[in-house]
């Protein structure tokens, strides 16, 4: 199955709306798109996972890679996610402490901008803006 990937702008952030199942088959499509965006200089990203039915470790890995890349260019990567099922995957892996997260795109941006220093490479403790 192909992934749905729509890019738009919101409040100075680049929003990537993802639809479908982000698994080992589809994750490369997402990686490619995110790398492209950062390469084009769009380093403030929101990945909107609200239309995603399934997300596995491969999908998480792509997001971690893109986060590292975005922060390396003084940007950030926030995650919008409303479904308990998807949120759970972040919680299990404790990546909800790494990504700024929110239940809507607005909330995800808010979480990213209220972090102590969005340009910094990592949260220094568990109390990040994303929680």
């Amino acid at each position: 199955m192909e992934l749905g990937l729509e890019v738009s702008e919101q409040a100075g952030w680049t929003v990537v709306r993802v639809a479908g199942e982000v698994d080992t088959y589809a994750a490369p499509q997402l990686r490619e798109r995110l790398v492209e965006l950062v390469t084009e200089g769009q380093t403030r990203l929101v990945v909107d996972l609200r239309g995603v039915d399934f997300l596995d470790s491969t999908g998480l890995g792509v997001l971690v890679g893109a986060l590292k890349r975005a922060r390396g260019h003084d940007g950030d990567l926030a995650v919008a996610c409303a479904q308990e099922r998807i949120r759970k995957v972040f919680e299990i892996t404790r990546l909800d402490r790494v990504f700024p997260m929110g239940a809507t795109v607005e909330a995800a941006i808010e979480a990213a901008t209220s972090r102590p220093d969005p340009g910094e490479a990592e949260p220094l403790d568990g109390a990040t803006g994303g929680r």
């Binding site: 199955m1 698994d23 922060r71 892996t93 790494v98 220094l124």
Partner: protein
């Protein structure tokens, strides 16, 4: 077929799906699990999703174990419907590995963490199922996942 499967009341024969070790088939494996799990009405939807994700992760690993394999590499997923549990095994012949030697991630609170895009599959499996075992077989690995659930309703 191993300790977990000889659990009391697990009936023969199992349901079995064999797919080529290619990423486009992992979705079929998930559909297989979701469909079979749905027939256990006493299993909450959240736990069906958990099992689906755990089997998907094990299947992805099994597929990747064949990185350099020929075109006849397959992954076999087997489903046993026990009276008080579901047992799913995922088997490959991709050479095997030692689960105790898989490196651990640095804590999420350090910047080191971002260097690792991989290595989340097994932690996710462990977190989601009630029991799991990574068994070495002569040519590869069989991962067994167990989900306890209420007693089976009789089917019509």
């Amino acid at each position: 077929m191993g300790v977990l499967v000889d659990a009391p009341g697990v009936e023969a024969p199992p349901v079995q799906l064999t797919v080529p070790a290619r990423p486009e088939f992992v979705g079929l494996v998930r559909l297989f699990v979701a469909t079979l799990a749905a027939s256990r009405r006493e299993l909450a939807e959240e736990r069906v999703d958990d099992l689906k994700l755990a089997v998907s992760e094990a299947t992805t690993n099994a597929m990747e174990s064949y990185r350099s394999a020929g075109r006849d590499a397959v992954v076999t997923v087997t489903w046993w419907d026990g009276p008080d549990r579901l047992v799913v095994s995922v088997a490959d012949e991709g050479g095997g590995f030692d689960v105790d030697k898989v490196p651990k991630h640095p804590p999420v609170t350090t910047s080191e963490r971002l260097r690792f895009e991989r290595g989340l599959g097994i932690p996710i499996i462990r977190a989601l199922v009630d029991e799991c075992a990574f068994e070495r077989t002569p040519k590869g690995t069989t991962v067994r996942l167990v989900m306890f659930c209420g007693p089976r309703e009789d089917r019509a």
